[in-house]
Symmetry: C2
Subunit: 242 residues, 2 copies
Amino acid sequence: MKRAVVLLSGGLDSTTTLFWAKNKGYKTYCLIFDYGQRHRREITSAKEIARYAGCKYQVIKISLPWKGSSLLDKKISIPQSANAAFGRHPAKGGGWQTGGAPAKAGRANVIPSTYVPARNTIFLSFALSYAEAIGADSIFIGANAVDFSGYPDCRPGYFKIFNQLALVATKKGVIGKKIKIFTPLIYKTKTAIVRAALNLGVPLELTWSCYAGGKKPCGACDSCVLRKKGFLALQMEDPAYA
Amino acid sequence: MKRAVVLLSGGLDSTTTLFWAKNKGYKTYCLIFDYGQRHRREITSAKEIARYAGCKYQVIKISLPWKGSSLLDKKISIPQSANAAFGRHPAKGGGWQTGGAPAKAGRANVIPSTYVPARNTIFLSFALSYAEAIGADSIFIGANAVDFSGYPDCRPGYFKIFNQLALVATKKGVIGKKIKIFTPLIYKTKTAIVRAALNLGVPLELTWSCYAGGKKPCGACDSCVLRKKGFLALQMEDPAYA
């Protein structure tokens, strides 16, 4: 049975990606990161989801002592974003206006304060290590470049180059074998992701997307707003927000 | 004053690289990793060196619970390598025969058991995060592809692609600024590195290269053998082995 490492945050996108990989016949190994995020509730969710899905998982604890992100530093407030839903892929004519602070017309590349420097590169490098150690040839990440927060390390061009890196970074690559990064949700709208989640039997009630760090989802942060958009279009209630 | 993050292991190569960067006028910020390596003595050395050099430093503790390397797993013995000194850069006609177990003639790409899956990718991803958080536009790593152990993530092609990744992985990259990875030792022989260290005033007696995890350097592991080679050619005693 082919093996895959899945980056699992406990949110809607990564959980859907996990079930996507399982549905494709992979034996999945989840990587969960405890990186000092204020929304620590997502770690509990991720572990519950991995157990629900019957997957092995590793929780990797890392510290990023340099902060510089509102996800790591409680002194910086989480942006309340009415504009989050307007992130668009540039291929679709949208530029990268999105984000935490209301995006200004004509100003591309607004990246919100929730951006954590090089976070996906850190996560993927651990995934690469894990994949090589267990003999997995695939890594799945639930990154999305349509209804997203504008993070640079969620864009198609980023994953294209990370795939090139994976070829030269590992022992496996040197002997001509590949470890490939898959981003099955990259071009999907949030609505399409919710639809996929429903089809794949994702336990939506277990997922956690909110950044704010409260006991209930705030409904106002980037991540909550984007998620809400997905459910609204399908005219259904989000079981995690019930 | 321009800032640089320097990956500092406490060994000869990374310490020389630190002094190289300082000599080029950078304000240097050291990153030291505590990743469960059996030769924990190098962490103490790295901290001493950073203090000696008057640099700020961060010690990042990470766990790689999947093991798979003799540097992480004491059940796997550290190779005693008489062949370590024969690693050659392919551009110089040498192939990649090198390593822990004696390299067999005609068999390229022998990578020793001391290889830690994706280690440099993990280290560089943290460096990228640190650099972006403190506004540094340079990262220095003491990788070497001449007298080295054959690790894939020490080769020029690897760093070339990591540099491409750095352009798309960060917020800084998105707004058209670069964070660049420099490998000043990449094409140097170990002898040339020792010579550079002497010229730069590197405190050689503080450095620690041995993999074995003892209180004194073993003199027989890959890393000790390569280091010995550098000093032998200059007919000088290595102060760290005195």
